[in-house]
Subunit: 194 residues, 2 copies
Amino acid sequence: MARRTDTREKMVQAGKQLIRERGYEATAFSDVIEASDTPRGSVYFHFPGGKAQLGMDVAEAHAHDQVELIDRIAAEAGSATQLVEQYVDLGREGMRAGDYTRGCGIAPLIIDGAAGTSAEIGEVSRRAFAQMIDRFAFHLVAFGLERGDARQLAEAVITGLQGAMITSRALRSTTPYTAIGAALRGLAARAKPR
Amino acid sequence: MARRTDTREKMVQAGKQLIRERGYEATAFSDVIEASDTPRGSVYFHFPGGKAQLGMDVAEAHAHDQVELIDRIAAEAGSATQLVEQYVDLGREGMRAGDYTRGCGIAPLIIDGAAGTSAEIGEVSRRAFAQMIDRFAFHLVAFGLERGDARQLAEAVITGLQGAMITSRALRSTTPYTAIGAALRGLAARAKPR
């Protein structure tokens, strides 16, 4: 039998994939079990809080992955503008590589209303986005931007890419990344230094 | 008995409200019937294509409303920048007035995967966003912007506001509108004239 953490992690990763493709509401545990090749009994063992718990775990995993990605890009970028450009570029590449089938792992909790009806899901969703924005802003400040401008730019980046994941999937085109990327690059160029 | 068009229109409007609040997947016809106070039999009469048809009608109604709104703002705006600013401002006001409970009427078809699995829903979603972008770009050109820059700005506006509807709901704050608004205003200011 697989170790508890392995099985649980496999289910969260499979759940993330499914939620990014078909949203929170349409993702059933039976699909997660099939996709992760885990035993049916493991649902009740690993997710005593049911689907809400899976949704929250997926949102947290998504935010965690994005924070790691932001850190990785920041380590190689030479400026605030490069950090913004490369994060947008990776979003665009991911969308194209996934053939326009996958979006964010947090947004479905908002769109499907779960964050609005459960205070706990609402708080996890809020924190997931806040973590991504905070981390992006942290690196922008490290690149020399004034704190308020860094905060605003970080919020614009996370917001703009949320939008790009929707219109790009709808249009089956990466032009929304180019368009919002131009707006974000301009905001980065105008940001005040510390 | 109400005229066919009245009943159908009431159901589409009720469906739009529900889909904007809880997404496409979680919206059941029984809720639409209750919210619109229409007879149960009318579902099969007015929506022989079932829920997919309701979802597509809602997306089209949403795009239609947004095109009308864009026209109304354009009629009063004095410049491309004002059109962008006022569209963002109205989005922000609507989000606050709705207490962060409502998003887009088209995005749920994307997030919940319906647009990806049904070619017909996919085409309606694509066209709905394309209509909004085309109309916004049309007015930007009328305000004197070069065609390519108008197109890019229009796509950035529709994309940015899609994102703001998600992060604003998640954070229960209008700051995403302020942040993305600053990026879009800057892009408008830098757009080339015709």
